[in-house]
């Protein structure tokens, strides 16, 4: 296999507790810390390990978004990716359009594997990888917690509700990552310097000839229902009687 394509979405850092704007027009993301989507960082780590085992030659990171996403691509290059592509878009792209962008890049790059996160932690859609596999007419292995490359195929262990499912897919294929796949490496300072010299191409969605899909429109935002503040009991006896009061024991 020559190339692995990895998606890196720029999202609000997972430690930030986002809040809905008081007028319900959206979520306040002004000035909050932005990071690589955690699942994508895991996807990149896995791609790098596959390359380090000699099972791939080049790792290309891709982000679709505003020019700010260069930051996340540079971090990806510092982690060890060989090359980066920024597909510029002023607005957030919907999953189907995102999948079409990846499909167009596959046409150009001919990767043996596309590694995406299982979900972006901002919109929590969990769609892009499956849609890409659908429109590419190739296998998908979602929620991966283990990937073994075996020449023309990959054996993927998937985290499913009842346990772990092992499937085998012919390559090329789309694999989406779950959290337990690996622990991403830390970026070292010299690597950040080196990453500045690595190639980062910028394209527009138009350059790729991608048709924008009909989005699911967001028409209003609200905070989640609050839970009432509860009581603190002193001891086990207090706990048991509080549960009995509620008819739970």
């Amino acid at each position: 296999m020559d190339k692995i394509l990895v998606g890196l979405k720029r999202v609000v850092d997972y430690n930030v507790r986002v809040r809905v704007r008081s007028d319900g027009s959206g979520v306040n993301t002004d000035g909050v810390k932005m990071s690589i989507n955690p699942f994508d960082e895991i996807a990149l780590e896995e791609a790098l390990r596959i390359k380090e085992r000699g099972e791939a030659k080049e790792v290309i990171v891709v982000s679709i978004g505003t020019p700010d996403a260069q930051q996340q691509l540079r971090t990806g290059l510092a982690m060890g990716a060989d090359r980066a592509i920024l597909v510029e878009s002023d607005t957030a792209v919907d999953p189907l359009t995102g999948a079409r962008v990846f499909r167009a890049l596959i046409e150009r790059e001919d990767p043996g594997l596309v590694l995406l996160g299982k979900q972006a932690i901002d919109d929590d859609n969990n769609q892009t990888g499956q849609m890409l596999a659908a429109i590419w007419n190739r296998p998908q292995a979602t929620f991966a917690s283990k990937i073994e490359m075996t020449g023309d195929t990959a054996r993927v262990t998937r985290e499913v509700d009842v346990g772990l499912e092992v499937i085998e897919v012919d390559l090329p294929a789309v694999v989406t990552t779950d959290l337990r796949l690996n622990e991403p490496r830390y970026v070292k300072l010299p690597d950040i310097m080196k990453a500045k010299k690595k190639q980062l191409d910028q394209l527009s969605i138009n350059d790729l000839g991608v048709e924008i899909a009909t989005p699911i429109k967001s028409v209003g935002f609200e905070p989640p229902a609050e839970r009432q503040k509860g009581v603190i009991v002193e001891d086990v006896a207090g706990l048991v009687s509080a549960l009995k009061d509620r008819g739970l024991l």
């Binding site: 296998p139 998908q140 092992v166 294929a173 779950d178 024991l249």
Partner: protein, 314 residues
């Protein structure tokens, strides 16, 4: 006219409760005619169980040897082959539905509405974003098929008492062989299923070993509860992955949830927002779990849990 196709989830011969919850969501759409598709190598028994669910007017039974293990790449083209005439196609927001439904949407060339938590109209829904820190109202185009997953924790199973007709149909679709099932490594347990249990006891990192987790199992057995865990407990290897509760694990809605030695990270809380009563046992009075707990007990779990178990008669 609103016609909704719900894709049934099942394991071998038993329909999964997520199916009845997805139907319940579909039934919230006014004047909807609801059909359910059962893909299986032999769906006779599952089709019968589904036909007995309320709100269902027709069950489509699609038997095919290739449907023995329900791989998304194999099922999706069959769903598309029968999609004509349906305004909506729903599946559960379980790993089965999350894997399959976006592939169906991709083939149909539409975006998906993920994790419906409320129906406001035939094309207007509420769904959670940012790990449940915000709820967004979304509108799908009325010109296209609505493909959606249903956040099962937001719905009660539709009642029994239905008597739908069952049609065995054959479907013409090109089924790929590029994806092959190898094996399923599933833990077996006699305890109530985490996703449907009325009571759930969960342990966190504080348990510190799989041996110590025994006290969680014992308490759960005394209460007749299912057992869950935080991601930290799963990552540390104390329990298997299928026990994880939270944003990237299971989203559950038991009547009683007892969090033991769990700090209450937002990713964990996302999984229990709809629980009836939340109990937290933690030695740190400032742990965030106490902000959402209905009943809190501050102290060392290693003394509290055995005492609690004895008190409930285990």
């Amino acid at each position: 006219m609103t016609k909704i196709l719900v894709i049934a989830e099942h394991a071998a011969d038993t329909v999964n409760p997520s199916t009845a919850k997805s139907i319940s969501c579909a039934a919230d759409i006014e004047d909807a005619e609801i059909h359910v598709a059962v893909f299986s190598d032999n769906g006779e028994s599952v089709a019968r169980q589904v036909a007995a669910l309320g709100s269902v007017s027709r069950v489509l039974r699609i038997d095919n040897a290739a449907n023995e293990t329900l791989l998304a790449a194999v099922v999706a083209p069959q769903v598309v082959a029968i999609a004509d005439g349906y305004t909506h196609i729903f599946g559960p927001s379980t790993t089965f539905g999350k894997d399959l439904m976006p592939r169906v949407a991709g083939l149909l060339g539409v975006n998906q509405v993920s994790d419906i938590m409320a129906v406001l109209g035939s094309h207007t829904f509420k769904r959670p974003i940012y790990a449940g820190n915000a709820v967004v109202t979304v509108e799908a185009s009325a010109e296209r098929t609505v493909v959606a997953t249903v956040r099962t924790a937001s719905y009660k199973a539709v009642s029994d008492g239905g008597n739908a007709e069952i049609d065995a149909i054959s479907v013409e679709a090109d089924l790929p062989t590029h994806t092959r099932f190898i094996e399923l490594l599933a833990g077996s347990s006699d305890r109530p299923d985490l996703q449907t249990a009325a009571k759930v006891v969960s342990g966190g990192r504080a348990l510190a070993s799989s041996e110590n987790f025994e006290i969680i199992y014992k308490l759960a057995d005394a209460l007749g509860a299912g057992v869950g865990a935080s991601r930290a407990a799963v990552d540390a290897g104390y329990v298997p992955n299928e026990m994880q509760v939270g944003q990237t694990g299971k989203i559950i809605a038991p009547d009683l949830y007892i969090a033991i030695g769990i700090s209450g990270a937002i990713q964990h809380l996302t999984g229990i927002k709809d629980a009836g009563t939340i109990v937290a046992i933690n030695k740190d009075p400032d742990a965030p779990i106490f902000e959402v707990a209905d009943i809190g007990l501050v102290g060392d779990l290693f003394s509290i849990v055995p005492e609690f178990q004895a008190a409930v008669g285990g």
